[in-house]
Assembly symmetry: C3
Homo-oligomer: 138 residues x 3
């Protein structure tokens, strides 16, 4: 059995982290699937999906750490071709990846108490993002 649903989120630019866990849980509930996996995917090359403890400290730490490792710079080849100021955004998003899959058991995503599913905006400006959630199982 497959159940797929998309929803839109609006982001406020680089480092905006949003907790998708409740939205994902709701879609798993609607699917009627009791056991399997749920895959969460962001369309586009400058957004990222992952899991983290969603709390104010890490909400700042993760984007800061990404900017320290992969800083904004005009030196990227991407910048020299496109001049849109988001070369580091692409690299950060590729590093974290656009998707996560989480097991489903007893009709719910299996997550730790301090483990949430998040979208992290890596682009330098506000964006509208499409999140695709695919539940598969029985």
């Amino acid at each position: 059995m497959v159940f797929q649903e998309s929803f839109a989120i609006h982001t406020r630019g680089h480092g905006d982290m949003q907790d998708l866990s409740d939205a994902v849980s709701r879609i798993v509930g609607q699917s009627g699937i009791e056991i399997g996996t749920v895959q969460v995917f962001v369309v586009g090359s400058t957004g990222a999906i992952g899991t983290i403890e969603f709390e104010p400290g890490l909400k700042k730490d993760l984007p800061q750490m990404l900017d320290r490792l992969i800083p904004p710079s005009r030196e990227y080849g991407h910048e020299q071709a496109w001049h849109d100021g988001n070369g580091h955004s692409h690299l950060q998003a590729t590093f974290l990846g656009p998707s996560i899959a989480v097991p489903v058991a007893e009709g719910h995503p299996v997550l730790g108490t301090w483990q949430q599913i998040i979208h992290l905006e890596c682009d330098v400006r506000s964006r509208d993002r499409t999140i695709v959630v695919t539940v598969m199982g029985e």
Copy 2:
């Protein structure tokens, strides 16, 4: 068809890397699924799942590299709020990610000879971890 099974592992703190390949293969065998995928997931926000050549050199190199890129520090926002000494653990675990999916063919996970499925403990202390394995296919 879906087959899901969990098992527990005990870890000895930061950098403890364990090879889950045999346990995952056994669960794929029990599932009777011949073709599809197997997804391996760790519950919690300071453990990570990935693939690597499981040999003594890389067992040390991977956690050392993570500590070099994302060092322990009291400067993280997470630390300033929670003082549990594991801000870097959360960031390292989010970087590597909590899950991996591997194709299944002829009733076995498709892996290279030097490619193993591992759990890496990113937390600073010994932990009991739950690993959820979900096999889907026919």
Copy 3:
């Protein structure tokens, strides 16, 4: 329903990035699956799969950034044991990961216009790689 197909690619050594999107789309088309997910996996521990905007700037930026963060070095434990010059290759590949899953809707992978599925060679030499594509759904 499950549909699985493998194909081979030849790479020209470290940093060779190849766009797999068309090959993956073709396999999704052949599968007849309209809704679900497609998982793309590289067999081996020194290749990586991800998504990125496939354009000449980022084709150079991503491997350069990886070499800056995880540089070639004889100091890795892996090097001291095996002397094959690719300790950093293993670590880079583990960082990016060997697989990606993308939703399938209306018989096509759901990707952004500037979001391609790529293989990145992290090894220091030319390699023949097996890519396994598994489509699941209805």
